[in-house]
Each structure stands twice: as structure tokens, then as C-alpha cells.
Symmetry: C2
Subunit: 317 residues, 2 copies
């Protein structure tokens, strides 16, 4: 596989490339699966490790981050490990929300007031955040990350007009500048002529995922924003999403996280339905949002197993 | 107008039927407008009236309810007055959420856990709520209400599958049973043969509005659920909504409430765009959700005036 050559030096060989192959749009033998917030409070061992030191010390300790990253993989045959990190350095627009709102809010009305009353200052802040985010993401790849996911948790608060004015331009910019930054850092080969698809692994060894929660209204634009994978929340029907975005991106998602409260048998049925609806290729299974702390790890395991089992069956039929 | 004959006895003649005409799908000279939560805390006179007695005493006092209902109409030339009432007797599914969740929540995960773990009990509770809601709504019409709006504030938490299982059947049932109840109470004429449109005023003198916030995925189903008007939140683009629901329902909405934080000039521009997108007929202007307490009444007035002004201009061109 081409991409292995772009791996930072000194890293062990990749054991399972199913997730990356699906992200690049290559055929896979089964559907890869991971869970947003899979390294999280629903695991007793996570709570134990986290209790040992304060949050920012945890984030600054490579040993603690590595331990938290690997915990869910010891329990479940997940196809991707998510590097434990600090939410305050990862999100972008989302980040502006928390900066302006000064905390959580159900309507985000104070942050939105700013967008309506101070559009120029909002763009200035978003540009500063983008400038900070790009080298951070390139740095993550240099440190070993093999894929990047950009979250926009508040797309639904924005709606089509604000989203296209204050989110999409920065989402596009991050993708473009991260790709350029990777080349500059010698982590990605120089791109082939433009007519070649960006989805070829020679060009995008480090796929980027965009997940805009409640961004149903902007699916077409997100699929054209330079990302190899578009994540979906659970309010979007898989067939309709595929119809809208076309065949050039991989889709990721989107079981309602609360479905993990159901019985393991019911989880199996819901997963089967989801896999049928998404189809066998160009697809990475996930939840439509992160796991909640009160979820039963056994049910997370049932979800992962059901994806692997049914996706193999689906390919046989 | 036919509908006047169905007005409960002893009521003064209707002064402005523009809202009702738009709801029935008749042509209007301008676009009618009202605001969700127009009788609300953003008005100083509302806060003063409410401070005079506790919440439930207010709800039980016809004089206080009447005063609160009329306050916004004294300030703005709104096309509908919204009867001040208690939220806990109005919403249906939404209501189940608050009963099970035991309070507000950003994910509604406890209520949703119930839907996944106890589907039969959930249906039982929803049936009980429906049984309580139908005579309440018929009673509202008997007491003088000329249109009814059903809120489903949490459609987005449900997603397509749970919504079609746990919300749509009850939304349809409420519409059907309220129509039947109105006939039984002698408030609506006996329906004409089925091939006649339900949108004719002879048949539906008391139009029903369905507003399912974040229910973008179910627009087609909502337009077929027996309601004359479908309300939209601000995440749905007007042209796309009209394309999806066809021409048999009136649409209502959907300016982002936070747009009222913008300057009056900017509000005018946003309203103009919204009116162009919805088109002049089969449309009632509103916000995409309720007004917030920190909003400036002057800006609410600017919104109402802009709708009236631009919708008349739109009809001239």
C-alpha cells in the first residue's frame, strides 16, 4: 500500500488498513467500525486512569494519552484508534461558540448574536482559529495520526445561511491548507495533475473526515469541501445522503447513540438495517454522535461485532 | 367567509382573516405574520404582568391570559394572537420527554433510553397523552381558538426511525381526532366526500399547524399528516421544502430567531430573501423558533413591518 511509505519514521507497520482503505474509497472485505468518544467515561478503566491526575496533566502525558487511546481496543476489535486529546484544541467553529458563549448553551444565542452583530470580527476570530488549527493538524500527522476528523458540532444552530458564510469557507480552507502543509512537511507526495481523483492513496495518504452535526442542509457542499469522508448524524437517512453526495466520498455513521440502550438483539437488527441502507463499499460504520458515559460497554461490543458480522454476510449475498 | 359561521357564539366578528386565508391556501394581499413566543419575556409589560402572581395562577386566570395574549398586538400589527397557556398541557411527544427525563437535557438520552428499552410502555404513555390532548384542543376551539398548532420540539433527537415509530402515528391521530371532535361538537361542518380537498374552508374552518423542530427528515410525511400548515425551523431552505412537500399545504416559518439580533436594516434584507424564497402565496411568515427573552422589541417590530412591506411589493412585481 502506497500510504505506508508516508508513515512517519520509526512507526511499527500498520496491522489493519480496513478503515483507511474505506476512507480512500477502496474495496474492503468487511465494513470497518469505530465509535466517536470510544475512549470515554463509559469505560471503568478510563474513569480510573483519568482519576489519577487532573485533565490537563493527562492531556500533556504521552503515556496517559496512549493508555486511554488503547483501552477500547483491548476490549473491542475496533478498526481505528482515536488519539486521546483535548477538545479545546481540536474543534474550530465549535470552538468560537465556546469562546463567545463562555460555556455551554442550548441555543448558542450569544455566539450567534455575535455573528449577526459583528460579522467582520467573527471572520477575524475564525481566521485566527484556522491559522492555529492547520499546523496543529499537520503536527498530529507528523506525530503518527493516519487520518484526521474535523468536528463542527453546532451546524444545526447555524442553519444554511450562517453555515455557508461562517463555517464552510473555513472547513474548505482547513482541508486545503492541511493537504498543502503535509506536502511541505514531506509527509505526503506532491499531488498528481488535477484531473486525477483526490481519493487515490498516492495523493491523500492521510484522509480527512468532516463531521458537521445537524448539518443535513449542507451535505452536498460538505461532500465537495475537500474531505475524503463525510460523517453523518442519525437524523440523515443513509440512502438519501448517498443520493445527495454522489459516489466520490466515503460516508461515515450514523446509528443513533441511544440505540445502544436497546437489547443486544435489537442492536443487531438496527445495525443490519444501517448496513443495508449504506451498502457494502465506501462506508465506515460509526455512531451518529459520541457514546454517552452511562452506556454499557457490552452493548458497544455488540455494536462492533454486529457491524463486522453483518457486513461480511452482506458481501456474500 | 364560510368560517365565520363556525365561530363559537357570542364572539365578535373577525377583524383580520389574512392568517386564516393563508392557512387554508387562499390568496392573500400580503403575507401574514406572527412570532412563536410573541407573548413572552422579551416584553417588559409581560414580565410585569407575570411578576404579579405565580405561574399557575396566571394560567388559570382568563383576565391575565387575555392581557398577556394581547400585549404583543398592542405593539405590533401581528396577524394572529396566540392564546397564552401552559406549555405542560400543549406539547405531546415533547411532553413525554419532560415526563421521563424529569427536566431539560441536551441529549434527551434518558427519554430515548425508554423508547429503546420499553417500546410498549412508551406507546401506552403516548396513547394516554393523545387521549388527553384531543379533547383539550377541541376545547380550545370551543373557547374561541381559530387555529391550532401542535409542537414537536424534539424531532431532531428522534431521527427518522424513532420519529416514524413514536411521533408520526400520534401526530396523524391528533389531527384526525381533533377534526372528528370538532364535528361532533358542532363546530365544523360535516366533511364533503373524500375527493374534495381538505383545504377548503367549508371543511377545515379551524386549520391545524404542525411544527416539528429539526424534523427536516420527515417533511414529506408531515405534509401528508392531515395538517393544513407545516411549520419549518431555520435549518430548512424554503425552496427545497416547497419542492419536497408539494403545493397542497401552506408553509410557515422560518427566520433564524437570532437574526433579530442584527440591525433593523439587515433584518429587512433577511426578510426580503425569505419572502422571495417562499413565494407570495400559501405562506405564513414566522421565525424558525420562539423569541428569546433578551431580544429587543423594536427588532421584533422591524421584522413584522418588513414582512408586510416586502410581501406587498413582491405581489406588485
Amino acid at each position: 500500500m502506497e500510504a505506508k511509505e508516508s508513515r512517519p519514521q520509526g512507526f511499527p507497520e500498520l496491522k489493519n488498513d480496513t478503515f483507511l482503505r474505506a476512507a480512500w474509497g477502496e474495496e474492503t472485505d468487511y465494513t470497518p467500525v469505530w465509535c466517536m468518544r470510544q475512549a470515554g467515561r463509559y469505560l471503568p478503566e478510563f474513569r480510573e486512569t483519568r482519576a489519577a491526575q487532573d485533565f490537563f496533566s493527562t492531556c500533556r502525558s504521552p503515556e496517559a494519552c496512549c493508555e486511554l487511546t488503547l483501552q477500547p481496543l483491548r476490549r473491542f476489535p475496533l478498526d481505528a484508534a482515536i488519539i486521546f486529546s483535548d477538545i479545546l484544541v481540536v474543534p474550530q467553529w465549535t470552538l468560537m461558540t465556546y469562546m463567545v458563549e463562555g460555556g455551554g448553551s442550548s441555543t448558542m444565542s450569544q455566539a450567534k448574536r455575535w455573528l449577526y452583530q459583528r460579522p467582520q470580527a467573527s471572520h477575524q476570530l475564525l481566521r485566527i482559529l484556522t491559522d492555529a488549527l492547520v499546523p496543529y493538524l499537520v503536527g498530529q500527522v507528523a506525530a503518527g495520526a493516519q487520518a484526521l476528523q474535523l468536528f463542527e458540532s453546532h451546524a444545526g444552530h447555524l442553519g444554511p445561511q450562517l453555515f455557508s458564510k461562517f463555517a464552510l469557507p473555513y472547513i474548505r480552507d482547513v482541508s486545503k491548507r492541511v493537504k498543502a502543509g503535509l506536502q511541505e512537511a514531506g509527509l505526503a507526495p506532491v499531488p498528481m495533475p488535477a484531473e486525477q481523483s483526490c481519493l487515490q492513496p498516492e495523493i491523500c495518504p492521510f484522509p480527512q473526515i468532516i463531521f458537521a452535526k445537524d448539518g443535513h442542509f449542507a451535505l452536498e457542499e460538505l461532500a465537495q469541501a475537500g474531505y475524503e469522508v463525510v460523517g453523518l448524524d442519525w437524523t440523515v437517512a443513509p440512502e438519501k445522503a448517498r443520493e445527495r453526495v454522489g459516489k466520490t466520498v466515503t460516508l461515515q455513521g450514523n446509528l443513533d447513540p441511544c440505540a445502544l440502550y436497546a437489547s443486544e438483539e435489537e442492536i443487531g437488527k438496527l445495525v443490519q438495517q444501517m448496513l443495508n441502507d449504506f451498502g457494502p463499499q465506501r462506508y465506515i460504520a460509526n455512531l451518529g454522535h459520541g457514546l454517552y458515559p452511562d452506556m454499557d460497554p457490552e452493548h458497544v461490543g455488540a455494536f462492533v461485532d454486529a457491524v463486522h458480522k453483518h457486513s461480511r454476510l452482506l458481501r456474500q449475498n
